[in-house]
Symmetry: C2
Subunit: 279 residues, 2 copies
């Protein structure tokens, strides 16, 4: 298939590598000449240009842009997407993107691969990013069934596991398991950064091991993503933070009251519950 | 050297494998016959027994027991450690352990390897656990310098990086970068477990990817460890939770007020700060 990928950052670049390897022909759009050169060097697509008119023969277009550029796409990009092309995106929020693009393009289906690292940009992509990843598609009552089928088959062919949900359901669930962790990790890093006590800070930096590295990892990612999530999924993110605070307050009370039996029970429960979220 | 290891769980078992490979002779003590068989099968030590009198010829003894058993050791264990042996422990809190053991044994030096996984028990150990790990030693004014040198040399020989701190400094720094993450991860898991909304829970479980897995990892660990940390480092843990809540409240306010410029700045700062804690 002739597939256009708009944006060759972590997700778009990884898709370009993977889909070329599956014998699709990839047309990659980047935002400037420097990225065009880098993307060509890394062979992220068969054809690469800053000019979106490169998409004119594509049967399918994947929008792998930052959330804000998906919600406010350029007129030039909109005009360059062929009328008959099936279009999807890979944005981490779905409601505002899906409602925008359903009005712009009749064959649009929102989607979201659950994969990432803390890297970004044209140097970040790698072919294995989507291996065994879950990939949500968020069709609505307006969705074209042929477009839905084509995108679903492509995702399955990449060895990803498809889940289907409404944009609203996606955004609520994602706020809990994907967006909340970013703000917790950021606040954890801020807490460990004891600026008023340099010797404690020095020691904490030395002691920090895999526990801190893992718990804080998503707080070390692209700040533009965290910002986009807060801006475009604000209510769900605030609800998630609030629910988290209630749970943490409960743990704090238990520790204050030295209710060790209950603390042990809560920690054991969390350990069991986590298993339902992993694998 | 003839080295005794009391407890062959994740830390003790990994030490047994590593130190045997460095041509030390290891005497491992376990708590029951079933673990004795398993530990023998996994060759966690050269000699393995439930009877601590096995330690009688050891020149160095490493106490790799749960924190509560370090703070309240059995009389039988205390009596089995040779008077001339150098003794250390690997507990995750230091103040209560060091003050207990300095009174029990003149050649005791507290220590804490910053390494772990969420596994526990005699099946959890593996030789590579300490590769490039940081290892804190917490001598006091009472410490014997020869004991300090011997333990330091052994730790360095295992390719670990030694840091020195007082027990009090260790416990405060550890509360920030090691103990706090456990309670945050536990509260995060509890938050994602939306028991009153089964369809949301099903979707959240499907969507959970590496971000959730990493941020919640230490909440999936041995609940006895989390309990021991809260019990034996209570004040520092409560301070750390309180500081974290202030930082999270700040982020929450920024998101509520849609102060996107400040949010972007805070997230970018956290990303930079994190680099000082990793590597």
């Amino acid at each position: 298939m002739k597939i256009g990928i708009v944006g060759l950052g972590l997700i778009g670049g990884s898709l370009g590598l993977k889909l070329q390897n599956m014998n699709h022909t990839i047309y990659g759009i980047v935002n400037n000449k420097i990225n065009e050169e880098k993307a060509k060097e890394k062979k992220l697509a068969n054809f690469i240009s800053c000019d979106p008119s490169l998409l004119k023969e594509c049967e399918l277009v994947i929008l792998a842009l930052p959330i804000k550029d998906l919600i406010s796409p350029s007129q030039r990009l909109i005009a360059s997407i062929p009328k008959e092309a099936i279009v999807t995106d890979v944005g981490s929020v779905k409601e505002p993107i899906v409602y925008k693009w359903e009005n712009l393009h009749p064959l649009f289906i929102g989607s979201h691969p659950m994969a990432g690292t803390e890297k970004k940009g044209v140097n970040a992509g790698f072919e294995g990013l989507f291996k065994n990843a879950k990939w949500i598609i968020t069709p609505t009552q307006n969705s074209n069934l042929n477009a839905l089928r084509t995108i679903s088959e492509l995702i399955k062919a990449m060895d990803c596991e498809i889940c289907q949900a409404s944009p609203k359901e996606h955004d609520e669930a994602a706020s809990l398991i994907s967006h909340l962790p970013i703000f917790l990790a950021s606040a954890l890093i801020d807490t460990a950064n004891t600026k008023n006590n340099q010797s404690l800070l020095d020691l904490a930096q030395k002691l920090a091991a895999t526990g801190f590295a893992d718990t804080s990892r998503v707080g070390g990612g692209n700040e533009k993503l965290g910002l986009d999530l807060a801006m475009n999924n604000q209510i769900n993110v605030l609800n998630a933070i609030n629910n988290f605070k209630n749970k943490l307050n409960k743990l704090e009370s238990i520790i204050k009251e030295k209710n060790w039996e209950l603390l042990s029970q809560k920690l054991a429960e969390a350990k069991e519950i986590r298993k339902n979220f992993i694998n």
